[in-house]
């Protein structure tokens, strides 16, 4: 039991020391203490440096659509986590857990976890965190 706790502490320490490859400040742009869930379909994947963007179209109750811009890691870091050009097809239904923007009425958010709901495959935002 004690050994397991120690291992957890070490793992947590290691995870927290992994630098986030943020060019601008994620803490400044997004409210990292809050989580929102966005359900929609993937309309564009742009894998870029310094940050990548996933575009998710969300249908409102009145039938209108809104486009969310989900910001994530650099393309190289995404690739290490298994998100590459083949990870999503345009039109794939997805569920995104994200930090909301601090900016009022913004449809920008920072990726924490994304799930392709057709088969339940999901990806987390931290190095090594690939959730099946």
């Amino acid at each position: 039991m004690r050994r397991a706790s120690f291992a957890l502490v070490v793992a947590a320490a290691l995870l927290s020391s992994v630098p986030i490859q943020a060019h601008h400040s994620f803490g400044g742009t997004y409210d990292v203490s809050k989580l929102i869930t966005i359900k929609g379909k993937m309309v564009q994947v742009t894998l870029r440096a310094p940050h990548s963007f996933l575009y998710v179209e969300v249908e409102d109750t009145d039938g209108s659509t809104k486009q969310w811009v989900i910001e994530g890691a650099t393309a190289a870091q995404f690739a290490r986590q298994g998100i590459d050009k083949d990870a999503f097809k345009i039109g794939d239904p997805v569920e995104v857990v994200a930090n909301p923007s601090r900016s009022p009425n913004s449809t920008h958010a920072r990726l924490i976890k994304i799930t392709r709901t057709t088969d339940g495959k999901s990806w987390g935002s931290k190095t090594g965190e690939t959730v099946e």
Binding site: A22, G27, G28, T29, V32, A49, S101, S103, H108
Partner: protein
């Protein structure tokens, strides 16, 4: 030869042979060698990197109230919305706080084998930063500013001291604490193998009350290879009109977040030089941190909040025009600066076309500068294989004097058209169709410029002779091997502003539509407006392409100030959009012009753009009137 003499001779031969075999003594001109690859060690200010600075956290920064107001109203999301900011590299005033590994290479003169420069690559920068050791002079104050700036190095004992100027506006913390384009950065690098210690100091006359000194450590990493960094800006708002996310003064809800989360007293969180010293600690421990996270309405009172009033109080001085200088812009385009408004010149085999003519009193010096530019074009020696039949180059240089073919005026502002008469009367003014002057474009401008000058009863020789009425106008033939296009910018500074695009040189003369270091002189009575001005800046940005990482490429010569690129113009546009939104909110509340002026809606930008008498008051009034009149 006796035995003694033989032995002497043998001794000399051996000595000479040994001297010849002896390696030359190496001459050292750098006491330490910093070349190699270095890994950044993240052991200072960890939270500044991960998750990044929270809004309103100014701990450890000797900032003034103008910097505070600017950061208080800043929204970091602008980095996601602006394609000109997404790939913005860090300047040396922040770079060592980034997490980039770096590689330092040595550049050595192949002849003297002396150290000429270090080339420094960071993972996320515009290319290679150069630190010069060859004692070269600083570039002109009108030269382009860059993210890396102009750096010179000097070894002081075992420490390398680097001084950097000509920087673009940037930040010292990633929550909107700005550094001005007037800032200087001084770095000290010392080696304690395998560690490289970098102490970097930002001296900013606009936003810091004393030097900001910070440090960072790198560790040698000989096998580290810097990865490629193909930064591609992403258009995040397809179909949407560009916006600058920001908070109105007093409306940012996050300014106590840092104090609340880190249990730090708000007075310390707000920063300032006093809070940096040990003496403040005794006071700090007596102060309670914020009990909740709430919106505060900061009050700004220090000297930086009075820059515009101080500028207005300056006694007007007659301009001296004693520092007129010519600076190369790009291709065959040059800037003549210091003669009132900036003058842009295309010089080559077809002669010279001038965009604007400066102030009347500076014309002699302007013509001298034109001659200097003409001299630089003259090849030192014509090659023997030159065509026996001659060419336009030879024809042009057969004249001892350069030939000014035409003037294009960007507006009717006196410091841009004042030299028209003197230039036209100069023997250097030789029209393309001089046998029949009526066939030649002489002084060209938008029709509104001519109309306004005639209405103002300006002397005939000052008034443009030829005009255009459409959205744009292209000269009927290439001039100096390039198309010259003139674009009308309606309702910007006035209703008659033009920008001139030299297409092959990829340089744009922007006139007063864009000034790199003062507010635009929008004149509502002459048809100018804030929204027209912002539209014009967007058009300029749309015409421009940066070379790489939001830098270089199309050169934009402002009406006043230094040669710029699209990133500088984008910065200027964002500043005006923030000011426009603030004044719009005041207009919506029904505030009078006097109340708006008293509220100082430009105060945080005045250190950079409001140091000339009258420019701030003129801008606030113009923005207020153009928004108010739009509302009617």
């Amino acid at each position: 030869m006796n035995r003694v003499k033989r032995s002497e001779t043998a001794g000399i031969v051996i000595l000479l042979a040994s001297l010849a075999a002896r390696p030359a003594v190496a001459q050292e001109n750098s006491p330490i060698d910093l070349t190699g690859t270095w890994r950044w060690i993240n052991h200072e200010d960890e939270r500044d990197r991960n998750p990044g600075a929270f809004p309103g956290d100014y701990r450890g920064l000797p900032l003034n109230d103008a910097a505070r107001m600017r950061a208080d109203t800043y929204d970091e999301e602008v980095n996601s919305t602006s394609t000109l900011l997404q790939c913005r590299p860090r300047t040396p005033g922040y770079q060592p706080k980034g997490l980039d590994p770096m590689r330092i290479d040595k550049v050595v003169d192949p002849l003297t084998r002396q150290l000429v420069a270090y080339r420094v690559s960071y993972e996320k920068t515009a290319g290679e930063r150069v630190i010069w050791f060859d004692g070269r002079p600083s570039p002109s104050p009108y030269a382009l500013h860059s993210w890396d700036g102009f750096s010179t190095g000097k070894f002081r004992g075992d420490t390398l001291e680097i001084t950097t100027t000509h920087l673009k506006e940037s930040y010292v913390r990633r929550n909107g604490v700005a550094t001005s384009f007037r800032a200087t950065v001084i770095e000290h690098m010392s080696l304690e193998e395998p560690y490289l210690e970098v102490t970097f100091t930002v001296i900013d006359p606009d936003y810091l009350t004393e030097p900001l000194v910070r440090s960072a450590t790198y560790m040698r990493a000989p096998t580290l290879q810097l990865p490629p960094y193909p930064c591609q800006p992403e258009e995040n708002q397809p179909g949407e009109k560009y916006r600058v996310p920001h908070y109105l003064p007093g409306e940012n809800p996050y300014l106590t977040e840092s104090g609340f989360k880190y249990k730090a007293p708000q007075e310390g969180v707000r920063g300032g030089a006093d809070t940096l010293y040990p003496e403040w600690r005794a006071r700090g421990v007596t102060l309670a941190p914020p009990a909740t996270q709430s919106t505060i309405k900061p009050v700004y009172t220090d000297a930086s909040t009075h820059i515009a009033e101080r500028a207005d109080a300056l006694r007007p001085r007659a301009p001296a025009y004693d520092k007129v200088e010519a600076v190369h812009v790009a291709g065959n385009v040059y800037l003549i600066a210091g003669a009132g408004g900036n003058i842009v010149v295309s010089a080559g085999g077809d002669g010279i076309v001038m965009v604007d003519s400066g102030a009347a009193a500076a014309s002699d010096r302007v013509l001298t500068a034109v001659r200097q530019i003409h001299q630089t074009l003259r090849p030192p020696e014509m090659p023997e294989s030159a065509s026996p039949f001659g060419n336009t180059w030879q024809a042009a240089h057969a004249f001892p004097e350069p030939m000014i073919r035409m003037i294009i005026n960007t507006s009717s502002n006196p410091d841009h058209v004042g030299g028209n008469a003197n230039i036209r009367m100069s023997p250097m003014f030789r029209l393309l169709g001089y046998r029949d002057p009526s066939l030649s474009l002489q002084v060209f401008a938008h029709a509104a410029v001519q109309r306004r000058m005639v209405e103002a009863k300006a002397p005939n020789l000052l008034v443009p002779t030829d005009t255009y009425l459409s959205d744009s106008y292209t000269l009927y033939r290439f001039f100096n091997n390039q198309a010259v296009q003139i674009f009308h910018m309606p309702r910007a500074i006035t209703d008659g502003d033009s920008v001139v695009w030299f297409r092959r040189s990829d340089a744009i003369a922007a006139g007063d539509v864009y000034n790199s270091d003062i507010y635009p002189p929008i004149d509502v009575d002459k048809g100018g407006s804030i929204n027209g001005e912002i539209d014009a800046l967007n058009k300029l940005i749309g015409m421009s392409v940066t070379e790489f990482m939001a830098q270089g490429g199309t050169m934009i010569v402002p009406g006043h100030g230094w040669i710029s690129d699209a990133a500088d113009v984008g910065n200027y546009r964002d500043m005006l959009m923030v000011i426009r939104d603030r004044i719009q909110a005041m207009v919506d509340k029904g505030m009078t012009l006097a109340q708006v002026k008293a509220a100082k809606p430009t105060m945080d930008y005045d250190p950079e753009y409001g140091r000339e008498p009258g420019v701030t008051s003129r801008l606030v009034e113009a923005v207020y009137r153009s928004l108010k009149e739009k509302k009617k």
